[in-house]
């Protein structure tokens, strides 16, 4: 049964897979995580604000992003970002944005909705007394958030933020629908060129499994170490 499989193809293409594919996947993941957490935190603060239009907008945005599939959002932004770029730079024609930048925008804005829910739970987990004490000391809203509430919120939510980041890493494989050469795309290209689908897809699954398995175990150990006994 395993006789007709040529696992040598993995050895021959491993340089390409990791140099081109994995670097793309990791770049996209890191950019989306940082952008997503920044936007997500802002969205969470908007959602918790007393200013009704702001909280309504943030709520609608988060609910919209959580109701539609990521594949659809990828297609949306692939076509929409050139028009937005044209509007920003006042060009009559849609701006040429490559698939890479449109997917960075997609993943940042999509994951911001999920990070928003996590940060909202985090901000609400910091006791009200902290914010009250900060205001009593004369801090304004931004100082309270930056110096008192958000650091504690981040620490509380760090394991869940990291778990969401591992899920983001897995979801970057969906840029396959734009024919981008991420790790899965690279494996797929080699598989289709050499006719070795079984070997390459199994190898890709194995690599993703090892990375995510190790990642989630590190997160579990971190969770045990920073658990605050209340």
């Amino acid at each position: 049964m395993l006789g007709q499989f040529d696992f040598n193809v993995i050895e021959r293409s491993i340089g390409y897979l990791f140099r081109e594919g994995m670097t793309f996947t990791l770049t996209l993941t890191v950019l989306a995580i940082s952008g997503g957490i920044v936007f997500g935190t802002l969205l969470a603060m908007m959602r918790l604000s007393a200013f009704k239009p702001l909280s309504a907008f943030a709520g609608a945005y988060v609910n919209l992003m959580r109701s539609v599939p990521l594949v659809l959002v990828i297609f949306w932004f692939y076509f929409l970002v050139p028009y937005i770029g044209a509007w920003i730079v006042r060009s009559p024609q849609p701006v040429q944005v490559g698939a890479f930048y449109s997917s960075v925008v997609t993943f940042t804005l999509f994951e911001a909705a999920y990070y928003c829910e996590i940060m909202r739970a985090g901000i609400q987990s910091v006791s009200r007394g902290q914010a009250a004490a900060a205001y009593a000391l004369g801090f304004n809203y931004w100082q309270t958030m930056a110096k008192i509430v958000l650091p504690q919120a981040f620490r509380n939510m760090l394991p869940i933020l990291l778990t969401q980041s591992i899920i983001l890493f897995q979801d970057t494989s969906l840029v396959y629908v734009l024919s981008i050469t991420d790790f899965l795309g690279a494996a797929s290209k080699v598989a289709q060129r050499d006719g070795r689908l079984v070997e390459m897809y199994t190898f890709a699954a194995l690599v993703y499994f090892i990375i995510c398995f190790v990642g989630s175990h590190l997160v579990k150990r971190l969770q045990r170490r920073i658990a605050i006994v209340r």
Binding site: V68, V71, F75, T163, V177, L197, T202, F209, C212
Partner: protein, 251 residues
Amino acid sequence: MNYHWNWHIYWEASPDGPTYIHTLLVGLGWTLATALAAWVLALLLGSLLGVMRTTPSKWAVRIGNAYVELFRNIPLLVQMFLWFFVLPEVVPRALGAAIKQMPPPWGSYVPAVLCLGFFTAARVAEQVRAGIQALPRGQNMAGTALGLTLPQTYRFVLLPMAYRIILPPLTSEFMNIIKNSSVALTIGLVELTAAARSMQEFSFQVFEAFTAATLIYLLVNVVVVLGMRVVESRVSVPGFIGRVKIEVAGH
């Protein structure tokens, strides 16, 4: 914006059906068919695994944990490719040939249902385990005291209450499976997102196509949430306010 809007496009003739709205609705049909079949599979398999992970047998727990770890750490798209491309090659030759000879919609539909079912079963197993572990330990002991065997305790005491506790997380898993069915477009299943894409490619009306798909997904979500609310109110046990806070990330 240099884009020509045409909201009448939905009622114009399309190359692969009477009108574009018809193509989109057929796509919606495939989305729902995939999601419902996969959901049934996920519920059955996931409940079995969740129960296995809470039994006193160490091996059952290990098998359950291994399954969940395996299916949660491989991306859904990679799993879809494994089911579609790799499975027919590693099973015995006759079965592999039979799988490859399945006619077009079923050739993509069956692997998509199996993939989504097994993927979601891992998540359902997590929810079921959390639901059972949220019950007080006295329930188990009371079952033993009444002379019930372990399967009977699960069937008559633990599972009825556990399912009521985890109805909200199960609702969001159901919505996730509807969204994840869009990944099946990569193996050739023409569900809603693929239908919107084909409408975009034939008519060049990009934003009309994707707006329709987005609105349809939102509508399906609203229907699911309202339906689950009805189910929740009908099966709720008066006085039992079981809310399990399952801190799971992601979608």
